[in-house]
């Protein structure tokens, strides 16, 4: 079987300027910091980042923002990273950030749909709000729903707790968040994980993400700290 284990820098070497990248985690809990650090070192620009939030400065995707690598951010919440507002409002066109806000449940489901072969889904969330602008409203059994479309990306950066050499991955506590859906919705999936074990060491009952979704495994992910 192909060896999927690489260093963080080798793993992100395939990511080029202008790529779209899903990043797992919620307020950086469940975000693969070692892969983010490698992306900062590679210094690729004009990225489209899809992540629940903007992290905080110096943490999670906040590092990419500080380094001026993000052109478009698709997220549900950016309020805890003041740099987002600064970069959205800047007059410097090179630094200007486009921020697309998506309700959290809709973001999660759009990614799930992207990985599950669905052409979209109907949700009551956002009906009658500015989220509905430009979207089809369908009435089913007397209730209005928005048609939301699937979301995919070139790459997904996933954060695992334990990963075997095939890529089977478990997630501790609340690190799971968007990781399992993102692992299914990108063309190339890289897992940054705390512990790499031999195939067979993880009880199949506990595997959340199958190794079939995983292209590259990087060890050395540290437990997250506030």
């Amino acid at each position: 079987m192909r060896n999927k284990i690489k260093t963080a820098d080798e793993a992100v070497s395939v990511i080029q300027d202008g790529a779209s990248i899903m990043v797992g985690g919620f307020m950086s809990c469940g975000t693969p910091e070692i892969l983010i650090d490698a992306l900062v070192r590679k210094n690729v620009k004009n990225l489209t980042i899809i992540c629940n939030d903007a992290g905080v400065p110096g943490r999670g995707v906040g590092k990419l923002l500080t380094n001026g690598q993000i052109k478009t951010l698709i997220a549900s919440h950016v309020g805890l990273n003041p740099e987002v507002a600064q970069r959205m409002n800047t007059d410097n066109e090179d630094e200007k950030l486009e921020c697309i806000l998506v309700p959290q449940g809709t973001l999660a489901e759009r990614i799930r749909a992207g990985g599950a072969g669905l052409g979209g889904f109907l949700t009551p969330t956002g009906v009658g709000t500015i989220v509905a602008e430009g979207k089809q409203v369908l009435n089913v059994n007397g209730k209005d729903y928005l048609l939301e479309l699937p979301l995919r990306a070139d790459f997904a950066l996933i954060r695992g707790s334990v990963t075997d050499k095939f890529g089977n991955t478990t997630y501790n506590g609340t690190t799971r968040t968007f990781n399992p859906m993102m692992a299914t919705a990108a063309d190339h999936v890289i897992v940054g994980t705390c512990e790499i074990v031999e195939i067979g060491e993880i009880d199949p009952n506990n595997v959340v993400t199958s190794g079939i979704f995983v292209d590259t495994i990087v060890g050395g992910e540290e437990p997250w700290q506030i």
């Binding site: 809990c29 919440h77 449940g105 999660a108 009658g128 709000t129 609340t174 959340v208 437990p223």
Partner: protein, 216 residues
């Protein structure tokens, strides 16, 4: 201020029933869990992936892999479960959450809610709020009655909506209000205020319940 917040949280807590599945917003709503009446045990859902969330983690005993939706270290109770965000919002939109308690920038007489954006000033994003208020069976707004003297309870929200027609109840330091098809009805009043004072602090017609009670 802290006292007012606890006063509001304590009253909200009386709305919850034993066994309810509840999602509490960040800030004032989080305090509700500290004031549950004797014998009322609720199951707290946290949208980042917990059913059965416990109290905040004690300093020195944090598990760095377990946070709440406000990024604070928390514990989980026996019987808890962790899940991914798609499952979490399936639980929320699917009507499996009995009540959600959130703050608001504005609420209007139609039960419309605005609590996620002040265009040009504050664009934090909606997070999970739009899904929560659409999906939860009961939506309780816990907030101060006015913002620096400006009305927050209005005829029509002037800020962009979080959702339309979703608010069931508003609890403030002045009283308890229910949103009905006829408008906003004051059902309980804090004895420290007069009805006229509450009306004055409210930006839409306030219907006074014939059974108006003291808020305690």
């Amino acid at each position: 201020m802290a006292d007012l917040r606890d006063f509001i949280a304590k009253r909200v807590a009386k709305e919850l029933r034993d066994g309810d599945v509840v999602n509490l917003g960040i800030g004032l709503p989080t305090l509700v869990a500290n004031h549950l009446p004797e014998g009322v045990n609720i199951v707290l859902q946290s949208e980042n992936g917990i059913m059965g969330m416990g109290p905040a983690a004690e300093p020195g005993k944090e598990d760095v892999d377990i946070i709440n939706a406000g990024a604070a270290y928390v514990t989980v109770n026996p019987g808890a479960m962790f899940f991914d965000s798609a499952t979490s919002f399936g639980i929320i939109r699917g009507g499996h959450v009995d009540a959600t308690v959130l703050g608001a920038l504005q609420v209007d007489k139609h039960g419309n809610l605005a609590n996620w954006i002040i265009p040009g000033k504050m664009v934090p994003g909606m997070g999970g709020a739009m899904d929560l208020v659409v999906g939860a069976k009961k939506v309780i707004i816990a907030m101060l009655h006015t913002q620096k003297g400006n009305h927050k309870i209005l005829d029509e929200c002037t800020l962009p909506y979080t959702a339309i027609n979703v608010v069931d109840m508003i609890v403030t330091e002045m009283g308890v209000m229910e949103v009905t098809p006829e408008g906003i009805v004051l059902t309980e009043i804090n004895p420290e205020y007069t009805v006229d004072q509450v009306k004055e602090a409210t930006g839409c017609e306030l219907i006074i319940s014939p059974d108006l009670k003291d808020m305690i």
